[in-house]
Amino acid sequence: MVMKKRKIVINEDVCMGCRLCEVHCLVKHSKSKKIIKAFKGEYPRALPMILVEEKGHLSFALQCRHCEDAPCLSSCITGALYRDPNSGAILYDEKKCVGCWMCIMVCPFGVIKRGSEKKIVSKCDLCLDENVPVCVKNCPNEALICVEEKL
């Protein structure tokens, strides 16, 4: 396995706020992975792990930055959050999480969200099983760009 550090670069100057990144992220993290079913046939509907901020004509998508000095990692009391040695991504083990929300408290981007059942749901996983994260792949204007560097 090639060890690559993946990073999603956000170009807010060309984000049009269409929120297709959210749509496709939701689908990717749904049970069926089928877009129409994910929206119309799965309850509760899956949640996107990316969020779009808007203010006037400014908009940008934001997802976990997988920080070098990740505050969520140092705040996690269960070890549910961990850095994947292969990709450098900060991943999350749902089985370990107890929902203490320390990570939400320290994440400067506000990109970790609570789910039902006292578990984190919204935590970007960089779609490591995909060649390109789905938010990047489906961004119609390249406002999200995936860069990879060898670890």
Partner: protein
């Protein structure tokens, strides 16, 4: 290099990881008075309530020492540090030499001198052992009711764990409200109501004067106002103080906790300290004090470890912050939550008693210095960074409480700095 670490909780763990990042070979010896492998102390209330299994306590996995080539000396107490001769002495007289020492002994629970506090059924609540002791009691004794002395974080966590076991709880708090050091009055009141709804009795402006014996066991508590509460268990949850006994007479400088510089170094250049045992710089209060919170201990441990292995990382300071869920109501608080009147603080707040939700932002000179979020904690971390980076919010103060508030309101350059990080052009 010979590293020696006293302590086995998050600061020690972070230090081990940081040392190993820089130095894969040096000897690391870790001494702890607890017999357990590395485990997560905050999880004890979950363990008590049965919400986590024993396995889950080991948040770094059971082979942490092995993976990091650490010689662990568990279940042994260090009694003194000989700074001049660079050695520590254990209670059994064994000595360990070091080239670099980290003191990460954490805090120890405060138990006031109270009659009957030695009875079977009187506990503190900071360690795995405490849970084991409680469980042991519960095996042989029917506990219907427990009194928790102290209405702070630990007290509430203990209350949560015990309530889950079906034990009726009375919290006795000396001050006029619970969680007084974490929350403001509004929040304390909300929490009290929530607790009471769940059947927890909250008694304020009072404390346990005496624990009444029932044989060798606890039979009840007499409060300061003379009220007598029959119970089978008492938990002291008044707070913790830095665990600094072993450094007495060692020459290591101690104020409210062990004094360290920004490199987490004590007044001896080869001796470091991190975690709840030290006094750290509080970015909000602008003062050195112990900030006994997990993320702080973790960062300090990492800084200390890095520097012990030859690095030059600086610790910039921290401030109090807590995330606690009380009866399924999540709360986050940070910094200065209950500012004194007349000192130029500005308060923005939004309360919905129905839901109930509460958001409160405290500013000074347009810079956020504290915040409380109750039952509405999404994106609370943005405020942590606003406090830490001392961002002037004057241009977006009016939207701080709004749901849509986010990074979009930040000055563009600061946002780009945050989002893109150094070195990446977009």
């Amino acid at each position: 290099m010979k590293y020696l670490i006293i302590g086995n909780s998050v600061a020690a763990v972070a230090a081990v990881e940081a040392i190993r990042e820089k130095d894969g070979k040096g000897d690391i010896t870790l001494i702890s008075d607890e017999p357990q492998f590395v485990y997560s102390r905050p999880l004890i209330s979950y363990l008590l309530a049965g919400n986590v299994k024993v396995e889950q306590m080991y948040y770094r996995g059971k082979n942490f020492y092995e993976n990091n080539k650490v010689r662990a000396v568990l279940g042994k107490r260090v009694t003194s540090v000989d700074a001049a001769n660079r050695k520590v002495v254990l209670e059994d007289g064994e000595e360990f030499l070091f080239e670099k020492l980290l003191i990460a002994t954490g805090g120890k629970p405060i138990v006031p001198k109270t009659k009957g506090s030695d009875l079977n059924g009187v506990f503190t609540f900071t360690k795995w052992d405490d849970v084991e002791k409680i469980k042991k009691l519960l095996l042989g004794t029917e506990v219907k009711r427990a009194v928790i002395v102290g209405g702070g974080l630990i007290g509430l966590k203990a209350a949560e764990g015990l309530t889950a076991l079906g034990i009726k709880i009375t919290i006795v708090e000396l001050s006029d409200r619970i969680m007084s050091s974490t929350f403001d009055g509004t929040t304390s009141e909300m929490m009290k109501k929530i607790l009471e709804k769940r059947g927890v009795e909250v008694v304020t402006k009072n404390t346990a004067d005496e624990i009444i014996a029932n044989g060798s066991k606890v039979g009840g508590v007499v409060l300061r106002d003379g009220t007598r509460i029959n119970c089978e268990m008492v938990v002291f949850a008044i707070g913790v103080s830095p665990n600094i006994e072993m450094v007495k007479n060692s020459g290591i400088k101690v104020n409210r906790g062990i004094h360290v510089d920004e490199y987490m170094r004590t007044n001896f250049p080869d001796i470091y300290a991190a975690g709840d045992v030290v006094e750290a710089y509080d970015l909000v209060l602008r003062d050195n004090r112990p900030i006994a919170i997990w993320p702080n201990a973790s960062i300090q441990g990492a800084v200390a470890g890095h520097n012990m292995a030859g690095g030059t990382k600086k610790y910039v300071g921290s401030f109090a912050m807590n995330s606690i869920e009380i009866c399924d109501i999540p709360t986050i608080s940070m910094g200065l939550t209950d500012p004194p009147a007349g000192k130029g603080y500005e308060v923005l707040q939004q309360l919905d008693e129905e839901k109930p939700t509460y958001r409160k932002i405290i500013l000074k000179d347009n810079v956020v210095v504290g915040a409380i979020f109750v039952n509405d904690i999404d994106r609370a971390g943005i405020f942590t960074s606003l406090i830490k980076d001392k961002i002037d919010t004057s241009s977006f103060k009016d939207v701080l409480l709004k749901e849509e508030f986010g990074l979009a309101w930040f000055p563009k350059e600061y946002r780009k700095h945050l989002v893109v990080g150094p070195g990446i052009e977009i």
